[in-house]
């Protein structure tokens, strides 16, 4: 069954068409890679799904329910969460408090609700930063800040997680470790869409790849099929050429 359906999504900024009639379906339990050269519209698709941008045309459904015009917090409450490309922890709060913020109920009456210390530790442990809970985000190395972003996302108890360039700025060892952790999420039953402009990091992780180019659907298939696809290679070469 499809968890996420993006139907004929179009997003324009003034005269610029950033995403053009793009469709995507994600089934329960799979990891889909959404790739494309820089500026191909991948992050715009994520921003539309998460309600950060008003959609120009098209429809987005989550578990069959139309979420096209929902605001971000409603979408998150329904079980969709996004790990954004930029790390934006709150520097005044410790790692543990940053995670706790993401567990607080959306209610002005709930003055002392939210996750217990034990639950926060569990979220952190799923991405291996449970020994950093009392540190401040500014003290963490880059890879741990990225992990904190994932822990925050996990703390909203998502069914589907959108990961935007999760490997950016990481070295080979860190990429390997993170890929293994993402693999573990899948074993726990999480559905994921991973955006990357780089095909390499994703190929062993994902079940299926969708390629965007200039806001348009270009190709879809297994990682092996995509790697051999001439149109994809040409798009990447053209992108590199720019």
């Amino acid at each position: 069954m499809s968890v996420l359906e993006v139907d004929n999504l179009t997003k324009t900024f003034g005269g610029l068409v950033a995403v053009d009639d793009f469709s995507l379906e994600v089934d329960e339990g799979e990891i889909v890679g959404l790739i494309g050269p820089n500026g191909s519209g991948k992050s715009t698709v994520f921003n539309c799904i998460m309600g950060l941008y008003d959609v120009t045309d098209g429809e987005i459904r989550f578990n069959g329910e139309d979420i096209t015009s929902d605001s971000t917090h409603q979408i998150v409450t329904k079980g969709l969460s996004r790990v954004s490309q930029e790390s934006n922890p709150i520097d005044l709060y410790s790692v543990s408090e940053n995670i706790r913020l993401f567990t607080l109920p959306n209610s002005i009456r709930s003055l002392h609700g939210g996750a217990s210390d034990e639950e926060i530790r569990e979220y952190a442990a799923r991405i291996d930063i449970e020994d950093k809970l009392h540190e401040m985000p500014s003290e963490l190395p880059h890879a741990d800040v990225r992990r904190l972003e994932i822990a925050k996302s996990l703390a909203t108890e998502p069914e589907l997680m959108l990961l935007d360039e999760p490997f950016a700025g990481m070295n080979q060892a860190e990429i390997g470790a993170l890929a293994a952790q993402i693999e573990r999420f899948r074993e726990d039953g999480m559905t994921m869409v991973v955006v990357d402009h780089n095909m390499g990091g994703l190929m062993e992780l994902v079940d299926r790849v969708v390629v965007l180019n200039n806001g348009d659907f270009l190709a879809a298939g297994t990682p092996a099929e995509i790697a051999d696809n001439d149109a994809v290679q040409e798009a990447y070469l053209a992108g590199e050429g720019l």
């Binding site: 950060l52 917090h73 934006n88 607080l104 003055l111 925050k152 996302s153 909203t156």
Partner: protein, 385 residues
Amino acid sequence: MISTILLLGTVCSTVTGRIGRVAGTLRRQVLWPIGRTLERLLAPIDRVLDPVADGYNRSLGPYFGEMSGLQFGVIAVSVAGLLTAGTWAPMVGPLLGGGLLRTLALASIWAIFAMSWDIQSGYTGYISFGHSALSGAAGYTTALLIVHVDPTLSIWVTGSVSVLAALVVGLLIALPTLRLEGPYFSLITFVAVLLFYRLTTAFSLLGGIPGFGQPDVFTWDPMVRYYYMAIPMLLIALALTFMARSNLGMILIAIRENEPAVSAAGLNPTKFKLWSFVLSSVPMGIGGVLLVGFTGNVDPSTFVVVDNSIEMIAIAVIGGMSSILGPLGGAFLFEVLNHQVLHGYSTPVRYLFLWLIVLFVLVFARDGLFRAIWHRLGAVRGESE
């Protein structure tokens, strides 16, 4: 022309460089040794008070914030001092120019205003330049009820309706503006207070410049009057501290630091900002009602002028924004300086001096004096042992 600019630039950079060096020397050779000596003296007190503070931390700490022994001692002494001011202020007052109970009563009202401003603007970062419109709404409602409806109405009736009026004005400002980002929110609150000011002077129905003299003061007894102002102030401080140390305070600060992250956490920022405005408007209304009972006159310059809004911000800045208790301390510092320490000078000179202090705090102690003191108190043993 260009050479003049270059010359000015060189002079400015030399002067600021020198000020920076002087400040550095001052800090190293004067402030640090004083701080270390104080720490050595205070550490034993901190240790003695620790068991009491621990008891508090276990029972009430989760609701009002945890404290070290010394912090607990300072709060206890301050609260005791405020509660017993009726007995000691008349004795100490003459040393400071007299009228100390009056100043403390006024400081209590301004503490309410500054704390109310803080829970909304200090916490969310949506800076309001128009909070005097809220206390003004309450003050004018009381006056209009007494003048136009029934002069014998009880304070409970006029007070409740006035607080409600402050809430309504607060929501009228907040509802259309809280979705706006950047300077627009601040500008609209600023325009709101300018509008209100012109409204009060443009129509005789609203009393014009002289305002309304009909409302009665609560009492002429300075001691009773002080307690009429101080007790509500302490209760509001307690309530706002409780709110600020809860999830709500955490979310409001997160809105200030990174609003998109709050949405990403599944929390509706607009709802929480609106609630912060409610939490701010209600005590602003109470403060407005108390100010009527203090002055017995409702007029634009006591209640509405934009200077009042700016003064609330100044007090919060001096004390330390987003801490509730910082603005409380700031109010007492500001008013005692204004009406006691500087009482020999004319109003313009006093305000010149007060605004210079605000500038000084903004440049050298941006987090506020009382927050800085609070953190030092919390760390006396951490650094001396």
